[in-house]
Symmetry: none
Subunit: 197 residues, 4 copies
């Protein structure tokens, strides 16, 4: 009656933000000490919340985990358009490598990728909300490079971006080699000769 805003006049008890945060935190903690996805039961128990509440707001533990991941690591995408293209791209790859190696994001992504490979909905969400924003930011840098002449015309930006980022994800997934400190720099060095004149 009195809600003057454009919001659709919410009635009844409002959703508790504390519980939301508790659930996201609990899910992340459980995911980190257990190689599989946490169960809804476990998250509810750890967060001190009932199972029903989780089911009401998220379709699966993977969705909870993804929301938590994006909440904590939404940054690490945007970079200054004034930087030289190679510097900007190296910095992006390096930021990713650091994130995967030094923060919980790496482990969380592993769990989420596992869920993605078995569930289409999670796959779509993860692709749209995690990979694509980063891919397109990088592609935009390359297109800028082509426009300014710093990158050779005819270069396929999408392919180059895959070449730059894939090794980091590859090592995260397979674990056959470490995510070295200078991985970003070395990968860029291997690709650059081919895309500059």
């Amino acid at each position: 009656m009195n809600s003057r805003s454009g919001a659709p006049a919410r009635r009844g008890r409002p959703r508790s933000p504390e519980r939301r945060r508790a659930i996201l935190a609990a899910a992340a903690e459980l995911a980190l000490d257990g190689s599989a996805l946490p169960t809804v039961d476990a998250i509810a128990g750890r967060a001190g919340v009932s199972r029903t509440t989780i089911y009401k707001w998220w379709p699966s533990p993977a969705a909870v985990l993804l929301e938590g991941l994006l909440d904590r690591f939404h940054a690490s995408i945007e970079f200054d358009d004034d930087l030289p293209v190679r510097t900007a791209l190296t910095a992006q790859v390096d930021a990713l490598v650091g994130l995967l190696r030094d923060t919980p994001a790496g482990a969380l992504l592993r769990r989420l990728m596992a869920a993605s490979l078995a569930d289409a909905a999670t796959a779509t969400a993860l692709l749209d909300q995690w990979l694509e924003p980063r891919r397109h930011a990088a592609i935009r840098h390359l297109e800028r490079g082509i426009a300014t002449g710093a990158v050779r015309p005819g270069t396929d930006p999408a392919l180059v971006v895959d070449l730059l980022f894939a090794p980091a994800y590859h090592r995260l997934v397979w674990g056959h080699a470490p995510l070295d400190d200078d991985l970003a720099e070395q990968v860029c060095a291997l690709v650059w000769p081919a895309i500059t004149t």
Copy 2:
């Protein structure tokens, strides 16, 4: 007088090879029309075999799937040492791309990678029996190139190999771009300038 061979004088009823094959086939079929790993129950039902028989020989559906994968696609690794290094590597990458795109191996690997990300034993098996043989075959080619002078000294073969193969796996996993026909050729073209003088 009897069993003269080196075989350790098998006692008891011998294992049925028909059933083994039926199980491998059933697992692969089920994996291909369902995005998640098949259950032991389902495999047993489809293969016309009892659950216990499966548990006796494999620790998990993932292990069944892996054995089936290796059985069917054990080739695709070895290449002629007389070929030029670039030709040989391009052929390897191309064989992988073709395998992932045109055969069930792609879908099977997706399921197995999902299992790997959640289960350490599967991860080890998959790494040791799938990725490492292919990685090392490629690394050997590069080392040959370094030895013959075709590849610049100081090149890190392991890193280069990751650069060559990672894009294919990356696209298989994320599905954000297709496994193009000329992917192998283009990837090699992007890396080659940096490792030749």
Copy 3:
């Protein structure tokens, strides 16, 4: 305003009494046409209930059966203290014989005794909830008889009660002789001379 009773303010969905009854009935029916204890699977199937529901409320099929038995045959214990001791005891034994011969209680008890002989928990439950109440009711009658002089002092009530009831159970278990109509009367007639003056 609401729940004024001493009940501890029950929360959550209340237990379904229909299902409880369906389970008890299904277990009894299955026990009666099969010489062994029914399996949890079978009870669940017959009752149209899930296995987990049964496991939640009972530790074993024997416990289900016992609860059903007590539900249906809780009576048959109490008798009028004003009756002469011999009349009262004969009536008790006769009620037992009739129960074992003419109602499902006989068959159910056979199954439960089988379970008792193999499982201590069932044995305790069956002893406490079936035999002991009946034994002590009979013992009380005999003690009354001793007090009033109708039964000879020095008589061991526990032993006499065993003598009175054991033949019925003996024939139920071994099946070597029928539970005759006049078994109770004849047994009492055989014991009475020894405990009266």
Copy 4:
């Protein structure tokens, strides 16, 4: 052609009596430390014999146990016909009480009665080979008593025998009271007045 005995000219390897004994012993031992019937697997393992051998000669663990029981306790039935009837019967009941209380026979019988209550074949075997011989020996004593006038005419021997033996089995099965040393004597004392003039 020359086998002169009635035996049907046995050919091939004869059955091993050592193994038979080892199986009987193993079954008895396992039955005594475990409240349920031993499994065929367990017996085979303990006896150092293959499962197949057991299945070849016995239909079930209960049959093994019964054969072992009869082997060890075949005596305890026959008594001197010259003894007074009451003395002879008291001795029989006392022998049973002692057997059930002081030897493994008690525990073995408990297991076998459990099996009997669930399996008709076992029930028949146990009744025919254990209970009936003992019952009839006792009945014969009573009939002798009736013939000689020591027992009152019109007495039902079968019922009296049940009265005498049932309490011992009753206490073995239910465990609600101990198998006292003087149980036999007291039971006979309670029955005797009614069957003598």
